[in-house]
Amino acid sequence: MNSRSPSGRNLEDSALPSDEELLRRYSQAGEAEAFEQLIRRYETELYRYLHRLLGDPTAAEDVFQSTFLQLHAKCHQYDPGRRVRPWLYRIATNQAIDYQRRHRRHRTVSLEGGATDGQAQTLEMLPAPGQLSPDKAAALQEQREAVLRALEELPPSLRQLVELIYFQGLKYREAAQVLDLPLGTVKSRLHAAMKRLDQALRPPASSPNPKVSKQTPNP
């Protein structure tokens, strides 16, 4: 099972072999179980990333499989000093871009913007507000929609970093490796993205609109 938290830090003990160790064992000694363990480890994490990226469960599944097929095909090129996680995310991101290019679907969440089935499903999967009072549930739903809108309004280059660093828990350095960007660029872009989100999500100043309050429904 996945031994990482969404933020990428180990939850379980460090006795488990590292990703690098697993891939090295598979590429050098041909240990099939090591690769299988690697797939299981990233099953949830990578699937969620691809699901957010592509907004479609079938596409996410296809790209997940093609990502590991690529990793399998390229594992002989693996440099033991290299971190596996950023490499895997890089392959997955490239595969997702290829998939979108092939299918000409511009209904993605993170790269292209726009509401998708995936987002709807994401909301459905969130803790159901059923236990809350109707007022609080409605407010929570409204807040979620506002966050999604704010994310959608981000440019793809900023949105991608929020996905990788916040939602997937990659470090700055790993995100820089995934996107092949300088470390400073990654830091400044994420900062810019968070500032935009802060502005978009800041509660408006309380200025009641008399016109609205006085408005009466048409008979």
Binding site: P6, I39, Q65, L69, Q70, L126, L148, A175, D198
Partner: protein, 317 residues
């Protein structure tokens, strides 16, 4: 706060820093109230983002299916296989396509080869028919077909072309070629016997070999008195006059023009027939006389068609 400091603080809150950077920011947060205030502000944004954190679970057995896919790469689904790292074609597809292609090739190639062969045979027989008319005209004037001398510089089968040319019955050297070849046609020149005699014996022999083209021509025959005479038109008209040149050795090897399939044969009456063996229904071996030699016939029914490069002088003696 400076932008670099804010980036560090954000990285700390997101867990995106390296351990030494984390320690540095943690110390700063403990001592600096301004950092604490800014951290609280960013934390508010992050808490809001947490509302849309995906809780989607992967389809059941995704890891297992992926693993199985790696075990049998050829069974990859089309959507995965089209990712550029696996072939779109399975082994079965490739075998099927190869078999279909092979069947098509087996059907088309023989048909094309047969058509090519037929057109060549027709072209060749047209030439022979043309030469047959020229020979008949020659016979009408001289009461015999062009004579191949038994000795001397002109003792080559190709002399028939020279005699036809001299009598203005042949002006296009391409008629002497079975296969159309512009290059060979340019090299081929027609000379009269008089012009040939002015050449050295070796040059004359070379020109006569060329003038025979791709065909063989019938030599004369020996009378009962041992006299060598040219053939004359016979009553039934089934005297073989010309044919596709045989192989020089005549050891059963295929002819030069149509390979193992046979020979076009021109009779004295102008008829052209394609025969699959050197034996025709009306005559014996068309390239050898009754003694089994390439030389003059042993009687007036023993026509021998000799290729242009045959040395007939010795045989005649």
């Amino acid at each position: 706060m400076k932008p670099e400091e804010e980036q560090l603080l954000l990285g700390y809150l997101l867990g995106a820093l390296e351990p030494e950077e984390e320690e540095q920011v943690a110390q700063k947060l403990q001592s600096d109230p301004h950092w604490q205030h800014q951290a609280a502000r960013w934390q508010t944004v992050l808490n809001q983002l947490a509302l849309v954190r995906s809780q989607v679970s992967p389809p059941r057995g995704l890891a297992l299916r992926t693993w199985q896919l790696l075990q049998v790469p050829s069974s990859a689904p089309a959507s995965v296989a089209s990712g550029g790292f696996a072939s779109r074609w399975s082994t079965l597809d490739l075998i099927t396509a190869t078999v279909v292609l092979a069947v098509l090739v087996l059907m088309v190639v023989p048909a094309l080869s047969w058509q090519r062969f037929r057109s060549q045979v027709v072209h060749c027989s047209d030439n022979l028919r043309y030469l047959g008319q020229a020979l008949q005209h020659y016979h009408a004037v001289h009461q015999h077909f062009p004579e191949v001398p038994a000795s001397g510089p002109l003792a080559h089968p190709g002399v028939f072309a020279s005699l036809l040319f001299e009598n203005r019955l042949l002006d296009d050297p391409r008629r002497l070629l079975c296969q159309m070849s512009a290059q060979r046609a340019r090299k081929l020149c027609l000379l009269t016997p008089q012009q040939l005699r002015q050449l050295s014996q070796q040059q004359c022999a070379q020109v006569l070999v060329q003038m025979a083209g791709d065909y063989g021509y019938c030599l004369g025959y020996l009378t009962a008195q041992g006299q060598y005479v040219p053939f004359r038109c016979q009553r039934d008209g089934l005297l073989p006059l010309m044919a596709d040149a045989p192989d020089r050795a005549l050891t059963g090897r295929p002819g030069r023009n149509h390979g193992p399939w046979g020979y076009n044969l021109l009779f004295a009456n102008g008829q052209v027939r394609f025969v699959s063996t050197p034996y025709c229904q009306e005559c014996d071996h068309i390239f050898l006389n009754h003694r089994g030699q390439v030389g003059p016939g042993c009687d007036r029914r023993d026509a021998v068609i000799a290729p242009g490069n045959a040395d007939i002088r010795l045989a005649a003696e």
